[in-house]
């Protein structure tokens, strides 16, 4: 009996011991690189995709994107083979691929021409044209010269012929700013450069201008204008290039059914004017007016004989697409239809055409015609010269997820055609014949992410709990019951673990589940997941990261592994919404049936007005009864308000705007009577600051007034204009200074300790002012000798200046941005300092440093320890001035983003996270940025305080690179979120790439170390239990015998 009791007790304690360990099985291991973090390399939305056949079997896909990236993609998988990131303001304007070389032309006035090795992505040679005062915006084009490695390009305001290895052009022709030249057409002996002519008073109508230049000598042969009313880049103009016939421009005037064809170089214009029957198809004038022209295979090498283009038009509300071929019949130029395709649907959302290379191996190059029907389906057909399609395919796709298809490209993998469709939302999907699922896809919308919010997910519900909830929800009212159910579940899982042979014989759970904790998905499931992610984990590592993008896509990804939960495309009148902010306005509430919500705020591209959408954060559907709201104003500022609408149980979002009377107002969303009351109940007084963005010369502060009359709130509706904001103060920047950026706390002001403990155990009290904002200004012009950066710390409530300084010889450019972050009582900012030789010569002053400088300003209530403002409330009107201690450091590298880690109770120290331009995510401890670091050997007190002697360089310690071997390109934002473990913070970096990881700035003090042997613990516990079982009866027997002796 006794033995039985002790056995069950031992078993229970063993179960408890094992059970309590099982939850730690997810613990953090330093060697889990790639398991605790994930990286998604992206390229941006392709502006041009060029398939290129290296030989008969190998094909490559080359893309230039709107995120200034040149990439080579694997045609079979869509993976990035290599990519090259260009500067932030270096738009790539041209891409040509030939003979294993890729040619790019990028930049605006300062133009770069580069030739890359198509296989390896390494730079073969490049040419840089310095800025030209005559440069006309939009100019820039480049072509390979056939039969040589030379390149002809429009760089700056010149047409140049470049040859590899030479630093100066073979010849250079100044274009004298007469047009924005966007097209280079090469013939055997001539170069034609075509552009949009400059509009003058005498000649105000748009037209094209051509300059013909001798290819060999660079001599200008002629210069003339043609095609009145036309622009080079228009959907009514195509260029046809043929070795045999020469180069032609074909166009149709707007609202006119007459065709025009012009042979380039015919100075005595050879106009060949046609009527609607140009392409030997009877067209009604109405149909003709809807026609759109598409250029295909414009490379003359591909079109030795018959250059082709494609035309689409609407006939009887159905789209018709025809492929047109140009040929000569005697002296006469003729065009004929070689293939046609009619869409079955009345409305077509988008259309794209492409053709593959024609060569000896593939004499009848196919053309793909892709038509997107309104009914969420992409159907495509590939034609050769016959009228029946050789390949067809369908792709089940909802345009509510990535927007309508806008273009298509055809390429071949192993002789089989693939159609690459691109949507306006940023999806690139490769389709194969006979399959409704894409072969691969790339979601490039997230390379345009503008904002991101973390959504906490509820812990996984045990199946016992789930079953109990389904049968009798009242059972779960008691926490004890829930606890017992959870334990029952744990015991069950232990039993199954033991019966399965301790996991040795079962399939590895990691293989089945994957790093994301989600079952491995197929391509189609990953594109459009059937079941969204609704449960997190016990530690808060798995949350949803909800991204808003400027392409109109809102996407929710798991922070673990990055698997997709849902995607939604927001469009206003068919055009994508430019999403700017994402707020979680209703959190997951335990035991509540109301779903969490995200409020997405953006701008309509058509009208510029504010657009608000409230989405279910778990499914991406619009929240009950809501739809996309286009507000009658354009907001200047948006923020979360600490008020909850009692009726909808939704947090309020505040939108600052100016009404037509130029009155500044604060609108709220949801804009209902109950929300207005909730706002006035909690938020008085409310202040906000406003400026006209970068370049403005002042900053104004406003105070929001709630109406005195309660009835006004009762009658509040969606159409009500917002609360009036009365101007309280105006902060005029000194003359000659313009605003660069404003930085606030953004929620990072909370702290665990109100003061800084010094070595002698006295306290320096932190100056914690949530209204603090840091302004950075540009002082003087960059060319002037007195240029610099001004720093102003201002109170947002009163507009009072708390601290200011000027950094001389510093400047801000797109490549050398000003970055700032506020955390607790600390402001950290980084900028580029030109350095001044004068200062260097004099005293070795910090202004002498040439490089990136990181400045830290620590704000304390007083310079004397143990001195504190004793009032219980901090009012900005008390005008407390901080005591500011500053220090400057030399930053290791150029950075593009700054962030700071966050933990649940702010007890762990914070790490400052730098997103470096070289693609590293560097996490440096907070203590390195202490402005009190002594500039000599530390005293005993300073040592006790943990102050490290000052050293100017911030070391790039490889052990502190969170991104380890990943190159996270183009980081624009770094966000952090706390987990349920105080030691651990989630860190997310986004920009071009996405990178998620977690970090423990103070060490993993609340987790078992990786070397902890659970096997040892279990074995020891078991051994002790067995020892008790065996030893117990023996001891009892001995005691009994002793009593008898």
């Amino acid at each position: 009996m006794l033995g039985g009791v002790s056995l069950s007790r031992a078993a229970l304690s063993l179960t408890l011991a094992i059970g309590s360990l099982s939850s730690f099985a997810h613990g953090l291991f330093p060697d889990e690189a790639g398991r605790i973090d994930w990286h998604r390399a992206q390229i941006g939305r392709p502006t041009k995709i060029v398939p290129y056949a290296f030989n008969e079997t190998d094909t490559g896909l080359f893309a230039i994107t709107d995120r200034n990236t040149l990439a080579s993609l694997s045609p079979a998988s869509g993976e990035i083979v290599w990519r090259q990131m260009f500067g932030p303001d270096e738009t790539i304007k041209a891409l040509r691929v030939r003979d294993g070389r890729a040619l790019t032309l990028s930049g605006a006035n300062e133009t770069q021409v580069r030739v890359w090795d198509a296989v390896s992505g390494s730079l073969v040679w490049g040419f840089s044209q310095p800025p030209d005062a005559n440069y006309r915006k939009g100019s820039g084009a480049a072509e390979f010269v056939e039969g040589s490695e030379d390149v002809v390009a429009v760089v700056g305001d010149s047409l140049v012929r470049l040859t590899p290895g030479a630093t100066v052009p073979v010849w250079e022709v100044p274009l004298n700013a007469t047009a924005a030249y966007k097209r280079v057409v090469l013939e055997d002996k001539s170069v034609f450069v075509v552009g949009d002519a400059r509009l003058t008073k005498k000649n105000p109508k748009p037209r094209m201008q051509v300059v013909e230049v001798d290819l060999k000598t660079g001599g200008v042969k002629q210069k003339y204008q043609f095609a009145s009313g036309q622009a080079v880049r228009s959907n009514r103009v195509v260029f046809l290039q043929s070795r045999e016939y020469g180069s032609y421009v074909v166009w149709r005037d707007e609202k006119n059914i007459v065709w025009f064809v012009h042979r380039l170089g015919m100075s005595d214009p050879e106009w060949e004017i046609y009527h609607a029957k140009l392409v030997q198809v009877e067209l009604m004038p109405a149909d003709m007016l809807t026609s759109t022209l598409y250029e295909i295979d414009s490379d003359p090498a591909l079109n030795a004989n018959h250059p082709r283009f494609v035309m689409t038009y609407l006939k009887d509300d159905k789209i018709k697409t025809i492929v047109v071929e140009m040929y000569r019949s005697g002296d006469k130029l003729e065009m004929r239809k070689v293939a046609g395709f009619r869409s079955d649907d009345a409305v077509v959302a988008g259309c794209g055409i492409a053709a593959a290379k024609k060569d000896a191996a593939n004499p009848n190059a196919p053309r793909a015609v892709v038509s997107v029907r309104s009914s969420d389906n992409v159907s495509w057909r590939v034609y050769t010269d016959s009228k029946t399609p050789t390949h067809t395919g369908d792709f089940a796709y909802s345009k509510d997820t990535y927007g309508p298809v806008k273009s298509a490209t055809l390429y071949h993998v192993g002789g089989e055609p693939r159609v690459l469709v691109q949507t306006s939302g940023g999806l690139v999907a490769a389709l194969a014949p006979g399959s409704s699922e894409p072969v691969w896809f790339r979601d490039e919308s997230l390379s345009h992410a503008t904002d991101m919010a973390f959504l906490e997910l509820p812990p996984p519900v045990s199946s016992a709990e789930y079953a109990a909830k389904a049968t009798d929800p009242s059972v779960l009212g008691s926490p004890v019951t829930r606890y017992i159910l959870r334990w029952a579940e744990t015991v069950k899982s232990i039993v199954s673990w033991v019966t399965s042979g301790f996991g040795f014989f079962a399939p590895s759970s990691a293989d089945a589940v994957g790093a994301s904790g989600q079952a491995a998905r197929t391509v189609a499931e990953e594109l459009a997941p059937g079941s969204p992610i609704v449960a997190g984990d016990h530690f808060g590592f798995r949350k949803l990261s909800v991204f808003g993008t400027s392409t109109g896509v809102v996407a929710a990804l798991s922070t673990q592994g990055g698997s997709r939960s849902w995607t939604r495309f927001l469009a206003d009148n068919g055009t994508a919404v430019d999403i700017e902010n994402v707020f979680v306005t209703r959190r997951n509430q335990p035991m509540s049936s109301s779903a969490p919500l995200v409020t997405v705020v953006g701008r309509s591209r058509a009208s510029g007005n504010t657009v608000v959408a409230v989405l279910n954060a778990l499914t991406g559907e619009f929240a009950d009864g809501s739809e996309l709201a286009v507000l009658p104003y354009s907001h200047a500022k948006v923020f979360e308000l600490p008020a909850v609408d009692t009726l909808s149980n939704q947090q309020l979002v505040g939108l600052v705007y100016r009404d037509p009377e130029n009155q500044t107002r604060l609108g709220i969303w949801p804009s209902t009577a109950s929300a207005a009351k909730a706002f006035c109940a909690v938020a008085e007084p409310v202040f906000f600051d406003l400026n006209d963005g970068a370049g403005s010369t002042d900053l104004r502060g406003f105070r929001v007034e709630c109406p005195a009359d309660e009835a006004e709130l009762d009658s509040w509706t969606e159409g009500s204009s917002g609360f009036v904001g009365r101007e309280q103060w105006r902060f005029d920047l000194p003359a000659g200074e313009t605003l660069v950026s404003t930085t606030g706390y953004g929620g990072a002001q909370s702290t665990a300790l109100l003061g800084r403990v010094l070595g002698d155990r006295s306290v320096l009290y932190k100056y914690l002012n949530p209204h603090l904002i840091t302004l950075a200004t540009r002082v003087g012009k960059a060319e002037s000798s007195s240029h610099g950066i001004g720093i102003y710390m201002v109170d947002r409530v009163t507009g009072s200046l708390l601290y200011s300084t000027v950094h001389a010889n510093a400047h801000v450019t797109a490549k050398q941005p000003f970055l700032a972050i506020q955390s607790e009582n600390r402001v950290i900012y980084q900028f580029w300092q030109e350095g001044s030789p004068a200062a260097a010569g004099s005293t070795g002053h910090s202004d002498a440093v040439r490089g990136y400088v990181t400045v830290v300003a620590d704000l304390y209530e007083s310079d004397k320890p143990d001195t504190r403002d004793e009032s219980r409330a901090f009012s900005s009107y008390d005008l407390l001035l901080p005591h500011v201690i500053t220090e400057a450091f030399v930053a290791p590298e150029a950075a593009s983003a700054l962030g700071v880690t966050r933990t649940g109770s702010n007890i762990s120290t914070r790490d400052v996270v730098f997103g470096l331009a070289s693609g590293k995510l560097l996490s440096l401890p907070d203590q390195m940025f202490d402005a009190r670091r002594p500039k000599r050997a530390a005293t005993k007190d300073e040592q006790a305080e943990g102050l490290v002697p000052y050293a100017a360089p911030l070391a790039l310690d490889p052990k502190r690179v969170l991104s380890h071997c990943n190159a996270v390109a183009g980081i624009r934002q770094i966000r952090a979120a706390p987990t349920h473990l105080e030691s651990t913070s989630l860190v997310a970096a986004y920009g071009l790439d996405l990178f998620f990881t977690r970090t423990s700035p103070s060490g993993t003090f609340d987790q078992l170390s990786p070397s902890f042997s659970k096997v040892n613990l279990v074995v020891t516990t078991l051994a002790l239990a067995v020892g008790c079982l065996l030893g117990g009866p023996m001891v009892r027997r001995k005691l009994t015998n002793q009593a008898w002796a």
Partner: protein
């Protein structure tokens, strides 16, 4: 005729003041000192016994002073140990300090038991007055405690600095909201 008289010793008649008589009676054995043998019952009431009492009390008081001064002798040793263990906060120095602190405290608690054997005289008689000794004993131990407290303070273990109360200071409230 042989004498039939038998020699016997009868200790039952042994009394304190009995003296050997000429006529006979029990003869004390050699070396027997009747006074010594019966002293246990006779000493208290005699006059010389009273004189002994005073000596005894004096001795007890002296002994009590020795007991009272005992802790003072250990103080230098403790101070030495404390000096050896240093002022850093480590397990060893904390153990030493705890010992220095707890020993006098525990001793003060047991002051009555410590002096009880010395002040108890006999049943029904008033106890010896050892107030001064006890006071000295307590004072010396308090000095020990004070030394321990001083040591705690130089080790930084006393919550005397403002930083020790930092965590308990309520955070300020912010009446204004700004965005």
């Amino acid at each position: 005729m042989p004498s039939t008289a038998r020699v016997y010793a009868d200790f039952t008649s042994l009394t304190k003041h009995s003296k050997p008589t000429a006529r006979g009676g029990p003869i004390d054995p050699h070396g027997f000192d009747a006074a010594l043998a019966s002293s246990a019952s006779s000493a208290v009431s005699s006059g010389s016994a009273h004189k002994d009492d005073q000596t005894d009390q004096m001795l007890r008081a002296k002994k009590a002073w020795e007991v009272a001064m005992g802790p003072a002798k250990t103080l230098p040793m403790q101070a030495f140990m404390a000096w050896m263990s240093g002022t850093g906060v480590s397990i060893f120095s904390i153990l030493i300090t705890a010992m220095i602190l707890m020993t006098p405290l525990r001793t003060i608690m047991t002051v009555q038991q410590t002096f009880a054997p010395l002040e108890r005289v006999a049943k029904g008689r008033p106890a010896l007055d050892l107030t001064m000794q006890k006071a000295a004993f307590v004072a010396i131990n308090i000095a020990g405690v004070l030394f321990a407290v001083y040591r705690l303070s130089i080790m930084g273990l006393l919550p005397t600095a403002s930083s020790d109360w930092l965590a308990f200071i309520p955070a300020k409230t912010y009446p204004e909201l700004s965005f």
